[in-house]
Assembly symmetry: C2
Homo-oligomer: 331 residues x 2
């Protein structure tokens, strides 16, 4: 093996992401120097935040550069190492991007143990999505036992963890998801108390029926009409962890019509990016890892095969076609 493939951002989307916004390239594997290591990625993580990086709109992170390897979380194995902290055969989690092989100097790279936790879980329930759930739930929503928690995009990588952690705290947990199959999974497999299918056309009435005591805390991934429905059901002093706004990621207008409830119900709302809270990661990952290893935290993966499948899998993720954490498995 002397070459590998990678995917670069070829152009910025206007509106929906298109396959030709990406370009597959074949590149020579470089020789590593002292302090470097070579990683062969096993799984790529696809996450909604990547849509924001593809644009130059003002956001919390610098945009993805054109003609550079698409950013993204990865788990892989060390092929070669001239780095004192990593050995050949180590499994490492990092953000090496949409590429089969990458050279790293070890920055932001973490060796993980796959004895009790599958490697791919480090991109999901025991990785950034899991930490996003853990942080929003514990540091913003802070629900008490018996309170009602609502989670949108409930079957996704983040939402599924939020709901299970809230159940472990003794909350009533209601998910919002798209389609009967996802809702059945959320209730039957993940153990949520109820799930509202926003595609069924009765979002407000169905959410009201599922939250007879109102809503004490919201984990919001979607924005727009889904968020409006939840805001209208909030109780006094409710908390909102604002994690995503998928409804507007393609630049659509997504007005919030029920923002006045933030006032009338004296809500506390906070937008957050979990990568800005590094001090919480050791505790959070330890808790999440234990829960996964002991079978108390379940997760589901949508696995696309091969690097070339990444663009279509990512476009599907933005349209809600994935079911659980979206990964790309590299051959």
């Amino acid at each position: 093996m002397t070459t590998y493939q990678r995917i670069v951002l070829a152009s910025r989307p206007t509106g929906e992401v298109q396959p030709d916004n990406f370009r597959l390239e074949t590149v020579e594997i470089p020789a590593i120097t002292d302090g470097q290591l070579l990683v062969r990625n096993q799984f790529l993580s696809l996450d909604p935040y990547m849509r924001g990086r593809m644009s130059t709109n003002k956001s919390y992170a610098a945009p993805q550069a054109l003609d550079e390897t698409m950013i993204g979380g990865t788990v892989g194995m060390v092929l070669e190492s001239k780095h004192p902290k990593f050995a050949v055969g180590d499994t490492v989690v990092g953000t090496l991007g949409w590429t089969e092989v990458a050279v790293s100097d070890g920055t932001m790279l973490r060796k993980v143990d796959t004895t009790h936790i599958p490697a791919s879980a480090y991109l999901g329930a025991v990785g950034m999505p899991g930490m996003t759930a853990w942080y929003g739930l514990n540091q913003i929503m802070a629900p008490k036992a018996g309170e009602t928690v609502v989670v949108s995009a409930a079957s996704g990588a983040v939402g599924s963890v939020v709901g299970q952690l809230a159940k472990l705290k003794g909350c009533r947990v209601v998910g919002i998801a798209g389609g009967a199959e996802k809702c059945a999974y959320v209730v039957d497999e993940l153990g949520f108390d109820a799930c509202v299918d926003y595609k069924a056309g009765n979002l407000e009435a169905d959410l009201a029926a599922a939250t007879p005591d109102g809503i004490d805390a919201i984990f919001e991934n979607v924005g727009g009409a889904v968020f409006d429905a939840a805001l209208a059901r909030t109780n006094a002093f409710g908390r909102v962890a604002l994690c995503g706004w998928i409804a507007g990621y393609n630049g659509e207008p997504t007005p919030l019509n029920n923002a006045r409830f933030i006032l009338t119900n004296r809500l506390t709302m906070r937008g957050f990016i979990v990568s800005e809270q590094p001090e919480f990661w050791p505790q959070g990952l330890a808790e999440l890892g234990t829960l996964v290893a002991t079978g108390k935290l379940k997760f589901r993966e949508s696995v696309a095969e091969g690097l070339a499948s990444a663009p279509e899998a990512f476009i599907g993720l933005l349209k809600g076609r994935n079911f659980g954490k979206q990964l790309v498995k590299l051959s």
Copy 2:
């Protein structure tokens, strides 16, 4: 004097408040019993929150009952007392409502000193509006010196105090108000660094020009388009004290189009009602009282004359016709 006048809520408004939603009544002055006192009101406070109480919509407070004296803050003098804590001639602040005379058992009634602070100020800068400003600024916005603070309804009873307190903290303070006269007052008299006239038709561009370093904290009284303009200028980790939503008090739809900035800029937003924070009142009122008594906190009043003028004055307040704290002076 054996009778007095009061104003009761005659009917609930549908849309804008109308004069015939109120009814002026003449009532006999009752005899007081042990533990009671009789107060002659000198000033009534008119405040936007009263609009909410006139409706039966879900809100943070029980609605004002029909055919009962309209609620509201008052300052007055004790005419008769069979209460151990109050003597004839005392000036008392309370919530005795839209009435010339009221019997009280002392609940929620507070004796105040008018030596250095005019009685009417206890309904404004040293009363509920001042405390609203103090709480939102200190407990939610917590601005540091050099940060940019934006206040809507800047010339009003609450906004004017927010801005002056923020100036005392060394912030850059930008007001938003309706009309050139109010804006001139906010800058020239209150000492704000700038004021944007939202009626001038260039709200977004004018606010951008007045906030070259973005916005670190917002005190929001209005909602809707005014709030959208401020949200679009927020810096990372900005704070929003959500105090009012005047734009929607008559039931108009007031969509928020820029709510996604709460996420992208990782804002913390909190709706609040200062009456729910009684533990902060002693400290806040002491600070506000000292600032008013020493001339460091200025305020302006719109005074309507006579109880019968209250309905029109209140309707004017909701339309922004007042200029400073709206009071009714009783003869």
